[in-house]
Amino acid sequence: MPCADEVWRLQNLDEPDCLHFQSFCDSDGRLNHRDASATRQGTYCVTPSGILLGSANHRDPRRIAELLRTSLAKWNELDPAERLLETDPRETARSIRRAELNYPEDGLVLRVDSRDLPRTWEGAEQPDPDDWRTHAWNFDYAWFRAAEVERLVPAELAIGASWDLPADLVQRLCRLHLTDNVRGQTDHYARDEVRTARITATVTQIEDGVAHLGLEGALHLEIADGSRGLRGTMLGTARLALDAPRTFEAFEAVVVADRWGATRFNQRHDDRDHAPVGFAIHLAGDGPTERIAPTAFWEYGWR
């Protein structure tokens, strides 16, 4: 039964699912062979009852295939009664709190993809094509509640009308989601590290109850000492259905930016110089795998 989840929460909180994870994650030695606070990220095979069958933290599919084979052999050796929980896990589910419970059903969910852009200027040092980081990409989800969606667009619209999207929502999008996460999780920017964050919308067409919007914007994020930052521009379009409640039928925007600097985990320690990065912002689907909370959800301040 394949499942995926975020490890920090599982490793550190005292919710029932977290305690269940903690009961087995070190059963065959600490997965990453470091101190107790080290991450337990990786791949585990385990019985519903919590008996660890095997674990590995590796990208090599052959290693994972071997983990599956040996774990299945252990599973087959177990008494069937040992494999399952004595209590119904559906009962426990009701007491588990997760950020995903705040999913904005009637709001707007954008997916923000990120990827390095070609380094085409004269004398540019080219990244190693055999390094996985050269081909890395990442993504995050940006959530907007229904009331926030209402604030994005004025009540009355006419062709040619132009306005800046609310500053607080644009700043949140920029400082939490337009970050250099291409190669791995990174720090978001603090509010006072937002130098510029603007998105201007213009109505280009209104037809059949749908407003067509042009989007353009600019952002400049930079930490106080200047050693890390991101500066770029945005261009895109959106379509807004005007029937109440107004909803976005389409949203596609690109951000092209100059990034520099590194954070602890974003794999830029040897790539700190200015280089281009791109973001593609678009509507997310609403399938189970697309309802994951924004990575810095706690910064939303939603209660």
Partner: protein
Amino acid sequence: MLRFALLVALALTPAPLVQDERLPELTDATVQSLFDAITPNADEESWRQLPWRTTFWQGVIDAQEAELPILLFTMNGHPFGCT
């Protein structure tokens, strides 16, 4: 004096918002190709084809019901989000 004036002029010249020479042009003509280049292609998203449960506990629930072992892929940052 001229040198001082030049220094003042340099200091007052705003830095460009973006180092344009290093960035691809973002225009109506290029925006779609940039969008396509940044978003992952079908091969890069093929791992989604497995019937993943997106929480460990949903995996426990479904594995308990089906009497199957659990494969848990867990990362810093949700594997189906920013990791």
